[in-house]
Amino acid sequence: MTMSEPVVVLRGVTKRFASGLEALGGVDLAVARGEFLSLLGPSGCGKSTLLRIVAGLAEPTTGICDLRLAGAPSKSIAAGRIGFVFQDPTLMPWSTVARNVELPFRIAGRVRAAERDRVAASLSAVGLAGFEQAYPHQLSGGMRMRVSIARALVTEPDLLLLDEPFAALDEITRLALNDDLLLLWEAHRPTILFVTHSVFESVYLSTRIAVMRPRPGRIVADLPVRLPQPRDRGVRTSAAYAAMCETVSTALAAAMAQAPAP
């Protein structure tokens, strides 16, 4: 893929917390429009911190984070142009599924018929049509995560940030959600930044993988994934998939070897 106009540009981004801990030590990264980029690294290497900086939820200590989202004012947080999915579903337990997904619209101060249609469409896109009036506690962990994804998608964001969204799920649910996420990405082609610590997941999903090392967090390898598109489960058994997993694992091992012992 040729580097079309980037949506996210990070230049020399560092983050030092008040505790003195250096979470990020100079990150340069450009994410092209429509790319599915995975940030891969062991826990504690600053992946979440990086994602929060991209979302505008945290400020870098030094360096710049530049977002170029369609139709959004450059500096301020582009409300609704970014979707965020956390490791936990992060739903409001007192609200129904529909009210949870509707949240971005409610904050924007407009929930009319058109927005309700978008909520319904978003829920059916994640396979939850008919669950509008259910409460989160009535759903399984996988279904709650789908609600969380539906909420992130409902504003049709240009940029989707996912922070280990499937890490807490069982293997079967996780594989199903991997495929669903690919379908959603292919349908709308948002730019995706996906944080994971699973080599297999990152290779299966992404068009590109940035491998990080810890203390301080840095990107040490930037690997394009040249597997056929659209992907399906057949890919997982292909020789090319196995070879790519091998390459990424080696890069990850090298990254870990550079880092001071935990």
Partner: protein, 266 residues
């Protein structure tokens, strides 16, 4: 469970059985030992007093109950309101919360005479005393609740450009609701205690006499069965207030809060 009557039945039957055994033992002890009623009246004597003095006691109960309910309503309103102010301004919380604690830890019996001197209107004076006792659990619980919003949800609200008012309304207030209701349940009992204590201090307090004064009066006249009857009415009132608040709490939280969601296997 294979107990035949089931858990619900057991919940009712067990305390009732204990109560009956206790009352029977009490009655037997009083009769067999010939204890005079001005030391310890038998349950049957109390029941009889309840029957004959019932109407006038109920009138007094209504006086105490009015003070209690008004104090509880004021505690809910102002307690919740003060907690909301604290949530809007950290400075306000830091500067005022210690004084709320001072008000809470100072025994109400010690403050009540002052309040009664300062507030001339007897109903209002008793109301203020009961309110002082009742409002703290609501303020302190609700303040904790308003500050307990999920971090990631807060981040999400910020991401979508929510105003502080929207964060309060859509996120912090719903988060605080179970805390507020837990405070309210504690305050229900405390408001009753506050009303009774204030009445003890105030004495007769105008034309209407509450249940606390009836207890004092019965004590002076050695009408101990009536004293017990009045006590019984007070306890029952406390229990009913608690049960009502508990029911309210369950109704409001039944869709989502762990404390109120019906267990699946019943």
């Amino acid at each position: 469970m294979k107990l035949g009557i089931g858990r619900r039945g057991l919940r009712l039957a067990a305390p009732i059985a204990i109560g009956i055994v206790f009352l029977a033992a009490w009655e037997a002890t009083v009769r067999l030992r010939g204890i005079p009623p001005y030391i310890l009246p038998a349950p049957t004597a109390i029941a009889q007093s309840l029957w004959t003095d019932g109407p006038s006691l109920l009138g007094s109960l209504w006086v105490t109950l009015r003070i209690t309910l008004a104090a509880l309503a004021a505690a809910a309103l102002f307690g919740g309101g003060i907690a909301l102010l604290f949530a809007r301004s950290r400075l306000l919380e830091l500067s005022l919360f210690p004084y709320a604690v001072v008000l809470q830890v100072t025994p109400i019996v010690a403050i009540a005479p002052l309040v009664i001197i300062w507030v001339r209107e007897p109903f209002l004076a008793l109301l203020v005393c009961a309110w002082i006792v009742a409002f703290f659990p609501i303020v302190s619980n609700t303040t904790v609740g308003l500050n307990s919003a999920d971090r990631n949800l807060l981040a999400l609200f910020r991401l979508y450009g929510a105003s502080p008012g929207q964060i309060l309304l859509y996120l912090r207030m719903p988060t605080a609701l179970p805390y507020f209701l837990a405070g309210l349940r504690i305050s229900g009992g405390l408001a009753l205690i506050g009303a009774v204590v204030a009445e003890f201090v105030a004495g007769t307090g105008g034309a209407e006499t509450g249940l606390a004064f009836r207890i004092l009066e019965a004590g002076y006249r050695l009408a101990i069965p009536r004293m017990f009857a009045a006590l019984l009415l007070l306890s029952l009132t406390g229990i009913v207030i608690y049960l009502l608040l508990d029911w309210l709490s369950r109704q409001l939280l039944r869709h989502w809060h762990e404390s109120a969601i019906a267990p699946e296997d019943e």
